[in-house]
């Protein structure tokens, strides 16, 4: 354990800076690495090349550009709610990171109901999206907001149900102890790589990844923001800083749900062969977790730029008739095996 004693305000300051770093670093990395570069390579083009070596400073140029733009509120919009909505969306992502452990001591809040809390916090962002769609006083925005709400409600269920398998197997809701359960586990007595729950909970893992793609409204589940029919849905009327906030919120949410998935299924901040109680894990842990976040987010973007969009009815049907029954079966199976062994 760490031998430093910090006053309450120092801890609070550290936590605030830490959460901001934990949100903005992955979000920035995702935009620069995947949205600018990886996708360009997949489409046989180079992507941004001018700002910095190989376009590596493009991100800063983009942020500078958005900050300079005028912040427009439509004449007939509900101005106060219109201005509030982006902060709600970004704020909920900050709250999700609160429960994610980055090392044996590097944790913002070691909540007993950690995973439950993370899912609850992420479910609140729908309200921000609905407000944005309604307050814009624009038909397309309202349609986008409604589609988003319908989709997020439908896919929240498989997301939560897929987590249940892990919770049953680990015997705790606490994310820190889910990580140590995977680090201490063994596969039929072979304990060298621990037991990442992605192996035993492979069904839950796949369901979680699909539901996560839908929760993040990434293609093939991007009807709420479909730019070719709804002109990016609930974000149509936003400009300047507020649009940037939605943008940060979108990519930070990819990072946050990837972090949750990495913690639940891939062992979190632990890497096989390391001592999970050692002090150095507080420094190595965040780096390992960031690597796993980038790995999972790459899958998200890979799928996003590979598949075409679902139709609205196909999407609802897929959630209620395929994903939810499968995840319920997975829970029953896990329960039986948990009792049997």
């Amino acid at each position: 354990m760490l031998s430093v004693e910090l006053a309450y305000w120092q801890q609070t300051l550290l936590r605030t800076v830490g959460v901001l770093a934990a949100v903005l670093l992955p979000a920035g990395a995702l935009v620069q690495l995947f949205l600018f570069k990886a996708v360009s390579f997949m489409q046989s083009r180079l992507g941004p090349m001018e700002a910095g070596p190989h376009g590596s400073l493009q991100l800063f140029a983009e942020v500078g550009k958005w900050i300079q733009k005028e912040d427009i509120v439509p004449d007939r919009a509900d101005a106060r709610l219109f201005k509030l909505a982006p902060y709600l969306v970004v704020g909920t992502v900050l709250l999700v990171y609160l429960a994610i452990p980055f090392g044996p001591d590097a944790v913002f809040a070691d909540l007993e109901g950690g995973i439950f809390y993370a899912l609850a916090a992420s479910s609140v962002s729908v309200i921000g999206v609905l407000i944005a769609g309604w307050a814009s006083a624009n038909k397309y925005s309202l349609l986008g907001g409604l589609r988003a709400a319908g989709q997020l409600i439908a896919y929240e269920l498989p997301l939560v149900l897929a987590v249940m398998g892990v919770v049953i197997q680990a015997g705790t809701l606490n994310l820190q102890r889910i990580v140590t359960a995977q680090a201490d586990g063994s596969i039929f007595g072979f304990g060298a790589i621990g037991l990442p729950f992605a192996i035993t909970q492979i069904v839950g893992f796949v369901v979680f990844l699909i539901a996560m793609q839908a929760e993040l409204t990434q293609t093939p589940f991007d009807m709420p923001v479909a730019e070719s029919e709804l002109v990016t849905g609930f974000m149509t009327e936003y400009s300047g800083m507020r649009f940037l906030l939605f943008f940060i919120g979108e990519f930070a949410a990819v990072g946050a749900l990837s972090a949750v998935a990495a913690t639940l299924f891939l062992g979190g901040w632990y890497f096989p062969g390391l001592d999970h109680d050692a002090n150095y894990m507080n420094v190595l842990g965040p780096i390992i977790l960031l690597a796993k976040i980038l790995l999972l987010s790459f899958v998200v973007f890979w799928v996003r730029f590979t598949y075409p969009r679902f139709r609205e009815d196909q999407l609802q049907k897929f959630a209620w008739t395929v994903l939810i029954p499968i995840s319920l079966l997975n829970i029953v199976g896990t329960m039986i095996l948990k009792v049997a062994f």
Partner: protein, 195 residues
């Protein structure tokens, strides 16, 4: 670092907790009044979010972490979202509409006051001078710290206690409520379906 509710639980009055309670309570009451007085349905739903979030905050002040999270997940994340969804899908003019207040609103107000009186009496009668037991503390300390001290990492946090009581002592009421909810769900489908 422990939650304020449990520091010195034999001291009858915790100033910081009471100040927190007061501030949140004022926000909740203001929000609740706005829910019924505003003439915009969407605004009413959003004021309701403030009231429900305030209730969750009060649960956290009482060190009932699990109940607080459930409050947010179920009421804000699901029920209010469904409200907003329904309202926006049907009719939600952006400037609000006149005549939302019913002529018989005082009947509702009367029921509300009666319910308040009944609940206050029941709570005071049942719990009166009870204090939070000292071990229901919500720790925000990393697990490793508690291990070094030889205590349970999240000693007395109430997730386990809640599930223990639901699935042993209150099992039959719990199952009855589940059946009731299923029946309500089926009833809603039957009503909504046109033959």
């Amino acid at each position: 670092m422990t939650l304020l509710a449990t520091v010195n639980s034999d001291v009858p009055f915790n100033v910081a907790q009471n100040v927190g309670f007061g501030v949140i309570a004022v926000l909740m009451v203001t929000g609740a009044l706005r829910v019924v007085t505003t003439n915009n349905v969407v605004h009413a739903a959003l004021w309701l979010v403030l009231v429900l979030a305030g209730a969750a905050a009060q649960f956290i002040l009482l060190a009932a972490e699990f109940v607080a999270i459930t409050q947010v997940l179920v009421y804000i994340g699901a029920i209010v979202v469904l409200f907003l969804f329904g309202v926006m899908l049907t009719r939600a003019p952006i400037r609000g509409e006149a005549g939302l207040t019913r002529s018989n609103w005082f009947g509702g107000a009367l029921v509300g006051v009666l319910l308040l009186g009944l609940l206050s009496f029941t709570l005071l009668d049942t719990f009166g001078g009870d204090r939070l037991p000292a071990d229901t503390r919500l720790t925000l300390r990393p697990a490793a710290v508690s291990q070094a001290e030889g205590t349970e990492p999240t000693a007395g946090s109430n997730v386990g206690a809640v599930s223990d009581s639901i699935f042993s002592r209150y099992l039959i009421p719990f199952e009855a409520v589940s059946v009731l909810l299923t029946a309500a769900l089926i009833g809603a489908i039957v009503l909504a379906r046109k033959e």
